[in-house]
Symmetry: C2
């Protein structure tokens, strides 16, 4: 079957590109002497996570318990929940899951550590703990080394908890220009070494220093004192990564196949893929809602829920897509796009190979 | 069971508010002498569509064939696909569906009409056709009365097609200020009457003139020559409707229940509901990603995929939500938010009543 035979909109993963991306990131981590724990929130697919493990990843990262449960059900046994399960119900679910799979979790407060300790003790398990450190994003994570130290001491003194180390998501690189990404990463890595040093000086077992982002991966691979990297979106790449300089268009392995359903004016095409197929995440300029393969002058300038409005003014008349014609859109943000679909069509070039469930989609909690 | 007992994030529909919204819109349409065909793309739920029919809706509107198929499976038999199924595969699917349910469809080109005619003839069915007229949104729809006339003639001459009338989505009201909404609707209604008049003068059976949007409903109910209204989001309302003046906060019947999972600074709370629970659709100012019930001074200023960053500077210290505390967020855009979830928890005030599947979610094509 050919991609052209699919009804639209359809999410398509190009397996040749995906495998190349997976191999490259594994090589990058290996050369830097880092272990690689890919963030599976990008694809939510056990099939893809298996490709990543086969290429040398030591385990996987998840964003929420629902993802952890789906991945544990699929046989994964070394997970890190890079988030704070800081409520009674989440802590209890985590502790129950730890009975059948190794899942470490994030903590960024004394109270969060206490909740997890009680849940672990009740379930009779020991949960690996990594303390989250904010290195510039301004989201979760302790703001000072002193706070990290205080929490680390509490974790070491708490039944059911075992301190594994510290982690950060250097997500502020997404606010940087391509030229600033490396500087931001160097700063974040220095901050992580500093916090780790404070903990170790106090005799605390801060065994592992973990960072994570795709734009930061190249810089972080060179940084001393960093043990693990947790990039996610590299598996597909997308418009955001291209804009940040972390991927070229030919490295983008995820597209949404769409049809032209209206040509109401000579310079406009309307596609049947809107924000419910691509997501509303967008660039501030250019073809804001994704790039159409082979039509670099076409601009997807706005979306409604089931439509993309394409400005064809820059496209020569003969090259403008006709009614019924299919195009492939590289989304601006792969993670948000994938999360809208229940499965991805797996292809090599224009040939359909398989259909993989996005198994953890909809596992909201 | 209480809402407070749910794990988070969870999509919650308040049935008292929803029923009031459904009744009000039905009354508005009845007083204006219009029939009401609610757009179910907002909720994708047969349960909610049944409430709308029970209140007097004459049928339902869908955005895509997948929604039509789900609703037909659920027993609905009077549907309008307010979109152009202008590809061979979509036309064929539509024709097959028409064998078991009455589904009219949109057309805005001669070529689209020809594709549908061939598919209907092959399937041995007659498909009701409404010609889409652009009244200012600039998406699908003919731009001139002459184009409408030409297509209407072709439809009348085509086997398998029966002309029902014309329709528009006056979606440009979303670009208007609250004061401009009525003027935009008056203009759109005048345009629809003008096109209908051209068709009727030429002896074509333009039986029905249909418009559709929630912000425009109040104005359109007063307009002569309009037969049908197709609002969607009124069933829930949301931050966008509140900003447009078409709903008050107490009319917003959809919330996302979320937990505080981190309080990294005194003036910041991090919630476990990000763009994968709320969508990335956002306001340009204020609490851009949704309003927190009971905390009007709190501002959700940015989201990542699984986190909301809440600026609490305007909230008195004693009222700031603590770690583990739950809050309810009125999303900026209900349709995009619902589409991320597999079910909605149905509640009356703080009591859980039921759980309704968002049955057409994920039916991408």
């Amino acid at each position: 079957m050919l991609l052209a035979d699919l009804d639209t909109p359809a999410l398509v993963a190009d397996l040749d590109i995906v495998q190349r991306n997976v191999r490259r990131m594994a090589d990058l981590a290996r050369r830097g002497g880092k272990s690689l724990r890919p963030h599976v929130k990008t694809h939510k697919s056990p099939d893809l996570a298996r490709l990543q493990l086969a290429a040398g990843a030591t385990g996987i990262t998840v964003a929420k318990l629902g993802e952890a449960e789906v991945m544990a059900d699929a046989g994964f046994n070394d997970l890190f929940l890079a988030n704070e399960p800081a409520t009674e119900v989440k802590a209890t679910r985590l502790a129950i899951l730890v009975r059948r799979a190794r899942v470490a979790a994030g903590v960024d407060s004394l109270e969060g550590a206490a909740i997890l300790s009680r849940a672990a003790a009740r379930a009779g398990v020991v949960v690996g703990i990594r303390i989250e450190v904010d290195t510039g994003l301004g989201r979760c994570g302790v703001r000072t080394a002193e706070a990290a130290l205080e929490i680390a001491r509490a974790v070491c003194d708490s039944p059911g908890l075992r301190l594994e180390g510290i982690f950060t998501h250097e997500g502020h690189v997404y606010r940087a220009s391509p030229e600033e990404v490396r500087t931001a990463c160097v700063g974040a890595a220095a901050r992580m070494r500093e916090v780790a040093e404070v903990l170790r000086t106090e005799g605390l077992p801060c065994g592992l220093v973990s960072v994570g982002s795709t734009p930061g991966a190249a810089a972080m691979a060179d940084e001393p004192g960093i043990d693990e990297m947790r990039p996610g979106v590299y598996v597909f790449n997308d418009g955001m990564q291209a804009a940040l300089g972390s991927a070229r268009e030919e490295d983008c392995g995820l597209t949404v196949l769409a049809s032209v359903i209206s040509r109401p004016e000579a310079q406009i095409a309307i596609l049947d893929a809107g924000s419910k197929a691509l997501s509303s995440d967008r660039a501030e300029s250019g073809s804001r809602h994704g790039a159409i393969l082979g039509l670099p002058q076409a601009r997807i300038d706005w979306l409604s829920e089931e439509h993309a409005h394409v400005d064809l003014r820059g496209v020569p008349a003969a090259a403008r897509p006709r009614l019924g014609e299919k195009v492939r859109i590289v989304p601006h943000h792969a993670c948000a796009c994938v999360n809208l679909h229940s499965y991805m069509v797996v292809a090599r070039a224009d040939r359909v190979q398989d259909r993989w469930p996005i198994a953890a989609r909809g596992r909201m909690q």
